[in-house]
């Protein structure tokens, strides 16, 4: 019941904002984890889900910029603004002719006031009960998305980060050999930017990556030497090749993988593209 009161009050507030500022075409709110709280009557839930989805990649890496406080997309016909207000993200879509000072004055005063008022009247956390509401915790926290090239989202490349699989206990019924394999952590998958490597003495079957990454992998596997990696492109191509550390200091600690031309051709990649690599443990 409390949630219904919240939703009703907020929905009305959003509709009123649109009445006061007709240049606002859509407004809605969602939580940091992607759960949609409420939208105005003009914005279908499907649209809200689509918007939150579109911002997935940004929110996943938000820590790198200290958390997202505001996102503005300025187009020739209109503008989308996402602002962090009272622990919620508030989305407004406005037309080109909108007076942004007026819009901001209304939204940044009215919404916090309504939220504070609701908090006083009925101090429960905001939770939406709508079946269409999207809770993105599982998606955003456990599936690294590769936004550079969207077609990349193929099942074989969507391996979970090692931290989440290390603690899996082996089942008693499986064979001894399988048990041994399960005790090893899942290979971590790192992303790299492709860089060329050439020269007379450069082996064509060996890629080069940061010493630090190799050390981390070896540490993870209790000092085992990592001699091979599996390179995966975002188009689904994979290749197993030998690995060594980068020799050229200018490429160190830049997230770069040096790949010989022969392997680049085989994987249909080139300099500047992103690939994933994981160690092969046998």
């Amino acid at each position: 019941m409390d949630n219904e009161v919240y939703t009703f009050a907020l929905k009305n507030a959003l509709n009123e904002i649109r009445n006061v500022c007709p240049d606002i075409t859509n407004t809605f709110m969602f939580r940091e984890d992607g759960e949609i709280i409420v939208g105005d009557e003009n914005t279908p839930e499907k649209t809200m889900v689509h918007v939150v989805d579109a911002f997935d990649g940004i929110f996943e890496k938000a820590d790198a910029i200290g958390g997202v406080e505001c996102i503005t997309i300025e187009g020739s016909n209109g503008k989308v603004n996402v602002s962090w207000l009272n622990d919620l993200y508030f989305v407004t879509v406005t037309s080109r002719k909108a007076d942004m000072n007026h819009v901001n004055t209304v939204t940044r005063v009215l919404i916090p006031t309504v939220l504070r008022l609701l908090e006083k009247i009925c101090p429960t956390p905001l939770k939406s009960k709508s079946p269409l509401t999207k809770t993105k915790q599982t998606k955003t926290k456990h599936q690294p998305k590769i936004p550079m090239v969207k077609e990349l989202e193929k099942p074989e490349l969507m391996e979970e980060p090692v931290e989440e699989t290390v603690m899996e206990e082996p089942k008693e019924t499986v064979e001894a050999e399988t048990k041994h394999e399960q005790l090893l952590p899942e290979p971590p998958v790192n992303q790299f930017i492709v860089e060329n490597i050439g020269g007379l003495l450069v082996p064509s079957d060996t890629v080069r990556i940061d010493t630090e990454i190799l050390s981390q992998w070896e540490e993870l596997y209790e000092g085992r030497e990592i001699e091979e990696v599996e390179i995966g492109t975002f188009y689904g191509k994979t290749m197993r090749c030998k690995v060594k550390t980068i020799k050229d200091s200018k490429y160190e600690e830049k997230g770069i993988i040096q790949i010989p031309e022969k392997i680049q051709l085989a994987l249909e990649i080139k300099k500047g593209e992103l690939v994933r690599a994981k160690p092969i443990i046998e």
């Binding site: 859509n26 911002f55 910029i65 958390g67 996102i71 997309i73 989308v80 936004p147 600690e253 830049k254």
Partner: protein, 129 residues
């Protein structure tokens, strides 16, 4: 035989100026970005197109995260532009508590400039547009 030769010459003549123009504009863009990099509050930039990428960041440990934010912001802008009929996207600004990311598309080039939070974007946008 003559026909073949003429055909080849036509193709070469048509293709060459485009490539040269593209190179010039990319070089100009890189020169502008290198100048922008010297502005107060600019942390670095990522420039990508279909054939190459240039990355200049003071803190290279965040390279992958920044690359993903940059790419996600540009992808999101394209999707939202279609969804809400925003028209041609001029720029995208993602403001964090510590860092601000200004992304835009110039021709075929996808650019993201990483700035300290209080840095003004106007001067940069004027330089790039």
């Amino acid at each position: 035989m003559v026909k073949k030769k003429r055909g080849f010459q036509e193709v070469a003549a048509a293709a060459e100026p485009v490539t040269v123009e593209e190179n010039i504009s990319l070089n100009n863009l890189r020169a502008n970005l290198d100048e922008i990099k010297t502005y107060d509050g600019v942390i670095g930039y990522i420039l990508r197109n279909s054939t190459s990428a240039a990355i200049e960041l003071k803190d290279s440990t965040k390279l992958i995260d920044y690359a993903i934010i940059s790419s996600s912001a540009l992808d999101a802008s394209e999707e939202l532009s279609k969804l809400f009929d925003l028209g041609a996207v001029k720029d995208i600004i993602v403001e964090g508590k510590g860092v601000k990311v200004l992304s835009l598309i110039v021709g075929e080039n996808r650019i993201s400039i990483f700035l300290e939070k209080d840095t003004d974007c106007e001067k940069i946008l004027k330089k790039l547009h």
